[in-house]
Amino acid sequence: MEKKETLAIDMRNITIRFPGVLANDNVNLTLKKGEIHALLGENGAGKSTLMNCLAGINRPNSGEIWVEGKQYNFSSPKDSIKAGIGMVHQHFMLVPTQTVAENILLGLDGVGFFMNMKKFEQEIRELADQYSLHVDPEAYIWQLSVGEQQRVEILKMLYRGANILIMDEPTAVLAPQEIEGLMETLRAMTKRGKSIIFISHKLNEVKSIADRVTVLRKGKMSAEGLPMDDMDRKKLAQLMVGRNVIFMISKDEKEPGEIVLQVDGVSATNKRGVPALRNISLNVRAGEILGIAGVSGNGQSELAEVITGLRDCTGSIQVNGVEVANQPPLTAIQQGVSHVPEDRNKVGSSPNLSITENTILKDYRDDPIGDGWKINFEKATTRAEKLKESYDILAPNVETMARKLSGGNLQKVILAREITNQPKLMIAVQPTRGLDIGAIESIQRLLLEQRQNGTAILLISEELDELMSLSDRLSVIHDGKIMGTIEDTENASIEEIGLMMTGEISK
């Protein structure tokens, strides 16, 4: 059959089987030139699987892949790159100890043993300017923020001459401003004839950026290439989860109690030795959620770290009157401080340990899990099974290794662990980042439940919607300083918060 030239990508009847799972069942996807096509679906719906076969990482069991009117049978990512396809993965594939330029050149043909780095850096700079992807080619990856690392990934693909970009959940890791920047970049790219597949489960973004949308549900298509103009958020959500979705989460009245967390004049530096917190003071009461809003990298991570003992600081931090600043992490744990860390894979869990072992991470020392010198694994297993049941953790059994769990399920394991011992104070950092609607809903509910139980909660998030609906009070952080605190979150002005986030005004 003759292909129309206009299609950048035409995937037809793609079926991908994994042992025991039908990951993609007869899926079609067409991408026109110069368009942004959203691929929508919950976690585990088969979005990444479908895209991985376009990127040459897995192979379809059946079906055809046509790129620019030519049929391909990719057997490695190299083939796919040669066909002009570049994938920006959710988890960046960069070498932290190398520079931006080195990462971009890594694995490229035609780069000799001796490299004229200056020349390459110049080329990269020019390319970056074209698409307003601002990043210093000489900087090391570990020095970059997540948003900058993403720009490097995009540059890497553009430098390889990709005409078709697959963005796998690109906004999951970004702050509002960064998201706006990314959207601009994407639009600039389509203007220059690039075509983009945009994987996401965030309805607002998809709605605002994409021209057409394909929706996957449990490996099957529930919408094929529908124009975005006919869509609204509700319709998209329905296609995605197969039922109606409630967007606003309501919280009950709750009179806050005693002050649990008291932070006074705290300053700290980040891992690069640059000041990250400047004289921060705040307090959280029992049964209250204090939200911290801010653009990524303005001291949020450091704030969570100084309270939980993972980072040294100056000033005073008291939990129920006990000083925890500059104490080992165990001190905070023993004061009933629980911590849902920003990075659930690298900090919050241990990948090759089982669910059971991950649930005892913090209380294996104490009764009833700890027993003299030994751990009572029977009790640990029983409790893990109960938690798995009540937190609705989807896994074959509690012996399943943490690395096998999806992001949402792993986050539920972490929350289950952090909640099960009735914390007095809970530090939750980006608890819903990168999760699908269903998981976000249940995690937000868990947080509100904890508030109802009288836990003081410090909620650090980059999702303004989430902060506005969950927090009792909301503080905005910028450049390590609290710019202001909003007491009445129901009637707060988003503009005002936005201006505080960028440091334009302070209250």
């Binding site: 055809e64 165990l330 744990i333 023993q334 919050g348 241990s350 340990l353 010198w373 030994k374 694994f377």
Partner: protein
């Protein structure tokens, strides 16, 4: 037909790692046999000679076990450290330090020839443990305090230990100018089966000593620590994800020191057992590289303390073989092949290889 390699999604069955280790050994002997055949040898005769001389009779098997005993200790030493991803490659030096400390008890001397045997042996064991632990403490402290790479320090400290022992056997404790210490008095010898030959004729000439029992006790203790204890959990957690361990309130620096001390203590015990059970004096030749072979043992046993016993027996047999079979290189070749196959089989734990019928795979291509 063509071969497809795909990533494993599901977990391997529990028996799979053990099967792979066994298969690696079988393959090593097969390939070794082919090589022997190619150079004009008679592989079957050589292998049957090998088996007869290592497992074929009680005295032969006893010899194998005697060689396996220090390997169990050094294998455990490496297992404990590797569990936490502390790459202790200084078990050889720790073994020598253990041996030196134990020798100190009888050569200084702290005890006399009339001291009861159980006191002498107990003291030597305690000194061996302390000596090895001390020798693990040094790289542990450097790593914990100043983040000095333990691979470098443990490796270099091996040579310090060799020279330290040399100083004493060349000078202080030299036996009539030879480079070895005088033979220990009988009260510093571990009981051997052959010592009871008068009561049991069958024990005559069987050199198996009490050390093998101590080694088995050590296996049980280490197994318990690693799988049941709080501390074992900490070690496992630090090994898998140090950031999560720190987040869980675990003191990583302290554990680095402790784990290297335990590792050193086990290797030190290997030295003690070797000089009290076999050599009965301090000299350079107390170890044909038990400390280094311990690294391979731990790896082949997949860091499983009980599997260390079996692997140690196999490598003990290979050490005997290198003594019995000429050229001695055959045994080194087999060791090398085993390691080669075990490392290559790691691929199979992550990928699976399938035979696919070509027409089935071509669906979708015109």
């Amino acid at each position: 037909m063509r071969i497809e390699i795909e990533k494993r999604v599901e977990d391997l069955p529990k028996w799979a790692p053990a099967m792979l280790s066994v298969a690696a050994v079988v393959l090593a002997f097969l390939v070794g046999g082919i090589i022997l055949k190619l150079i004009g040898g008679q592989p079957l005769r050589i292998f049957s000679f090998f088996i007869r001389n290592t497992f074929g009779s009680w005295p032969a098997f006893s010899d194998t076990l005697v060689k396996a005993t220090p390997l169990i200790f050094t294998g455990l030493a490496c297992t404990v450290a590797f569990k936490m991803k502390m790459w202790n490659i200084g078990a050889e030096g720790q073994l020598f330090m253990g041996a030196w400390f134990s020798s100190f008890v009888v050569l200084w001397p702290i005890v006399g020839p009339e001291t009861p045997r159980w006191i002498v042996i107990s003291l030597m064991i305690i000194f061996g443990i302390v000596g090895g632990a001390f020798y693990g403490f040094i790289p542990g402290l450097l790593k914990a305090r100043y983040n000095v790479n333990e691979i470098i320090t443990t490796l270099m400290l091996n040579y310090v230990a060799f020279e330290w022992v040399n100083y004493w056997i060349f000078d202080q404790w030299s036996d009539a100018g030879f480079q070895l210490s005088p033979t220990f008095e009988k009260n510093a010898w571990l009981p051997r089966l052959t010592d009871y030959a008068r009561q049991f004729r069958a024990f005559s000439g069987i050199t198996l000593h009490l050390g093998v029992v101590i080694a088995l006790i050590a296996v049980v203790i280490i197994w318990w620590i690693l799988t049941k204890s709080k501390w074992g959990f900490e070690v496992k957690l630090i090994g898998d994800n140090p950031d999560a361990a720190k987040y869980a309130g675990i003191n990583i620096q302290r554990n680095i020191i402790l784990v290297l001390m335990l590792s050193g203590a086990l290797a030190g015990l290997a030295g003690t057992i070797e000089i009290t059970g076999v050599v009965h004096r301090l000299q350079q030749q107390i170890s044909p590289g038990y400390g280094f072979t311990g690294i391979i043992v731990a790896w082949l046993a997949k860091l499983n303390p009980t599997a260390v016993i079996l692997v140690s027996i196999l490598f003990g047999a290979l050490i005997i073989a290198s003594r019995e079979i000429q050229p001695a290189g055959i045994s080194s070749m087999l060791q090398g092949l085993i390691l080669f196959f075990i490392i290559s089989s790691e691929v199979l734990t992550r990928y699976k290889v399938k035979l696919v019928r070509t027409n089935a795979a071509a669906i979708g291509a015109d």
